[in-house]
Amino acid sequence: MFNIKKAKVLKATRAATVLCAMLAAAAQAAEPDFSGAWTTYRATGAGAGAFAAPGGQPKLKPEAAKALADFTSVTEGTNYGAGNACVGYGMPGSMLGSGGYPMEIIQRPEQLFVIYEAHNEIRRFYVGDEAEDPKDFFPERNGYSSAHWEGERLIVETSRLKTQVDSRYPHSNQATVREVYYLDPPQENGARVLVAEMTMTDPLWLEEPFTTTKRWSEMADYHVMSYECSEPKWLDEMEMLYEKAGLEMLQE
């Protein structure tokens, strides 16, 4: 009798375990896989002119406008700029524009990597419990990103940004960015479409939250390239040293 009861309990436990596994698998299946190479969305058959970042500009408070004007006054008409100095765009420029370069997403359950080809910028989205307290990390141009799933949508919260005036989207170090990633129906040619609705909030520099939407088309079979940028400067320095020493430089 006891054994029969025990067997029933075991059977029920196994059934519950299987059910839990099925539910977990179903929940997992509800989360889309964003892995792949993506480029700024353009309609099927559209020409190369469709690579612009989404429109709209943050409404700057007077002190922010002044900071931006100062930056413009010292760089306008020169070749000085973050990109020419091999410095990446930083958020939200990396996500919204990135110079029209492709990006790659590598998705693991606990972490997503977003690799923007331009300047090899990398963002990491730490999912759920994998995320730590952003305050424990240094401020960065791309900040620190925590994420969680709400059904088929990935919600990404980014903080620990640095004050940036060298951006199309200036912001203070108090700015935070919320992105909502999801897939739209595929294009006519079958390419998947990724969407990110973004809101940047900045109590110091913005009059109001800045909201815009970025869309990407998947690039089938495309390999995102690396973007070595500092090497030319180093080669110039090497060349100078070799010339000074009267030696032949073989490195290219």
Binding site: G83, N84, E228, C229
Partner: protein, 127 residues
């Protein structure tokens, strides 16, 4: 061959046979009025954020001098079909450029014309 420039500043550069001005802001290139330039490749650096190309150019008006041109990042050059072996050192090549609005030597590489007359690349703006 196209006449490219009429700048006194660049006359000095041509006399010294050194590359003209390096790196300009994108607004200085005239992408609506591209021209062809023929020259001998003295240096071609496929690099990011921009390529650097130095051609030895000769024309009746200005004589022989080295001119430095800019171009897309190497990543975007590749996407345009423009590869390093089209710019071999010592080769004489023909490129299409967006010239400097100022009329100085230099410009932004938009395409390469290969011997059969085909142009590879269709750059319409600086990256």
């Amino acid at each position: 061959m196209n006449k490219i420039v009429k700048s006194a500043v660049l006359l000095l550069a041509s006399m010294l046979a050194i590359p003209a001005l390096a790196h300009h802001s994108a607004a200085q290139f005239d992408f609506r009025n591209t021209v062809l330039v023929e020259g001998k490749v003295m240096e071609a650096r496929f690099a990011n954020p921009h390529m650097r190309l130095i051609l030895e150019v000769t024309d009746a008006e200005r004589g022989t001098r080295n001119i430095e041109f800019e171009g897309h990042s190497r990543n975007n050059m590749r996407r345009q079909g423009l590869m390093p072996d089209m710019f071999n050192s010592g080769d004489t090549i023909t490129i299409r450029i967006a010239p400097m609005r100022s009329g100085e030597d230099g410009g932004y590489v938009t395409a390469v014309r290969i011997p059969d007359g085909t142009e590879i690349g269709a750059v319409t703006a600086a990256d």
